[in-house]
Amino acid sequence: MAGRTRGARRGLGTYLVVGPFAILLAFPFYWMLVTMFKEDLDLYNAENVPYVYNPVEWKFWESATTKHVEFLFTDTSYPDWLVNTALVGAAVVLITLVISLPAGYALARLSGSWGQTAGIGIFLVYLIPPTLLFLPLSPLVARLGLQNSLLSLILVYPSITIPFSTWLLMGFFKTIPQELEDAALVDGCSRIKALLRIVFPISLPGILTVVIFAFSLCVNEFIYAFTFISSTENRTISSGVPNELIRGDVFFWQSLMAATLIPSIVLALLYNAFLDRFIKGFTGGAFR
């Protein structure tokens, strides 16, 4: 009895702490949601309560509108940017997997304590940020004839995703018992076969986690996307939305907020679904 009331009180305390944090952190997204359906006359009237939809000239049935969202998809290059982002993301994920899967496995299994050091070494590359590299990379990309081409991003982004993915995969592979593999070897599988038939299928959730995180790193990246790509139709969302949807001093706030909210929600749902595995992989690597 006493334990139950204490439990309930503790539960309430939890909500009192996490609730305000959640509201503060998510507020900008609530704000995007409210803004994207507003009429201009409502949005740009400083006397209106901004949190709700105010009827324009008492026509309450016309308080909210989807026209700015439609504008985004029919009159801007936003759909192109979505496609470009997906293309770049898919290609980078593929390159990342081809290179990180064997490396992560080798670092986890085949090379002992030396592997741990090499793993941390590769991971440290993640700490050389794009802001240090974009200045030499942009003329290099131009010299290769790749300026204003999505190929430039496809080639450069794996330098961000490979270190992180290799680290995560190393963590996942370590959690798979060595005995399982040995059994396959005894049964006459070659090591490569054991890898393809036993290890990779078991690690599928981990591999999916890497796919999600590599993809979202690509969607997130700003400075390369901004400096390598110059024409409107070749941009990705992260450089297209801030650079092309704002014309001088004219902000299409409703369309801008729609353009921002849509990918954010999709990525957050994916993140949330794979968060527990991500945490396991992150600690599996070094903090066991």
Binding site: A26, L127, I162, L256, T260
Partner: protein
């Protein structure tokens, strides 16, 4: 024999796409190369000394430090509190967690656009709320969040803390999850509960991974370009100019590639120290 073969592609890719540009950045910083070219005349350390003597550079260096320390202080306190509660099970945890990771999942340049609208000079929801609900702001002359030097610096600090906090929470959760339950039981038997347990048991055990979160946070913040560029572009009057935005200004906008590279390389000692510290703590966490 197989291991080096499996790791080689990752190492080669990173050497090509990170190593070469990094070496090139160092080379460029020692030349008078201008925009679009890959070579220049050797000028020794002139670019570094010229940058150092420039008031704007000093300002950028100072701002980078304030920006990094300020936002990381908020992040660490917030993450320590939040993770302590989020590790528990409670109803609606899925939704709360989704709301909390939104700022990290959202593409950084796009999330920042949401804040650009929140800080708008005429229709800021913050000013409306402060003026109409709390009555602490004069609605005819509201604070210009992005138009006043000190407020603008505060704004970029807040936005970056908002973005990094969910990431730090994830790392903290990973650290908490790796504390074995035996420790919990032992603490209970010894009568350590509540704050006592937090200070004498949980926090000390969490220290190594908290430091990892901090080191990551320092790198992400000091190397950030997107938040500052989208929110203020370094203004007003260079009051939010960072090393990254200043190197972009000099290296791309003014076309002094060599000096831009030198400015961005001033970040490197900081990042190198962080990397060494990270190696040290990763090793220690492994031993314990």
């Amino acid at each position: 024999m197989l291991a080096p073969l499996l790791i080689a592609p990752a190492v080669i890719y990173i050497l090509l796409v990170v190593g070469i540009p990094f070496g090139w950045a160092i080379y460029l910083s020692l030349t008078d190369a201008i925009g679009g070219s890959l070579t220049g005349n050797w000028v020794g350390l002139d670019n570094f000394t010229n940058a150092w003597q420039d008031d704007n550079f000093r300002k950028a260096l100072r701002n980078t430090l304030i920006f990094t320390i300020g936002s990381q202080a908020i992040v660490l306190v917030g993450a320590a509190i939040l993770s302590h509660y989020l590790i528990r099970e409670f109803r609606g945890k899925w939704l709360i967690r989704l709301l909390i990771i939104l700022p990290w999942a959202a593409p950084v340049a796009l999330g920042t656009l949401g804040w650009l609208w929140i800080f708008d000079s005429l229709f800021s929801v913050i000013n409306w709320t402060l003026g109409h609900v709390f009555g602490v702001v004069d609605s005819s002359d509201p604070p210009q969040w992005l138009g006043r030097p000190n407020l603008a610096l505060l704004a970029v600090i807040i936005v970056h803390a908002w973005r990094i906090l969910p990431f730090a929470v994830i790392i903290f959760l990973a650290g908490l999850a790796s504390i074995p339950s035996e420790v919990d039981d032992a603490a209970k038997i010894d009568g350590a509960t509540g704050f006592k347990k937090l200070f004498y048991v949980t926090l000390p055990l969490q220290l190594p991974i908290a430091l990892v979160a901090l080191l990551f946070g320092i790198v992400f913040t000091a190397a950030d370009f997107a938040v500052v560029y989208v929110l203020t572009a370094g203004g007003p009057f260079n009051s939010t100019q960072m090393l990254t935005t200043w190197s972009f200004q000099i290296g791309i906008n003014s076309g002094s590639l060599g000096e831009g590279a030198a400015i961005s390389l001033y970040l490197f000692p900081l990042l190198a120290m962080v990397s060494v510290a990270m190696l040290f703590f990763a090793k220690r966490a492994q031993v314990s």
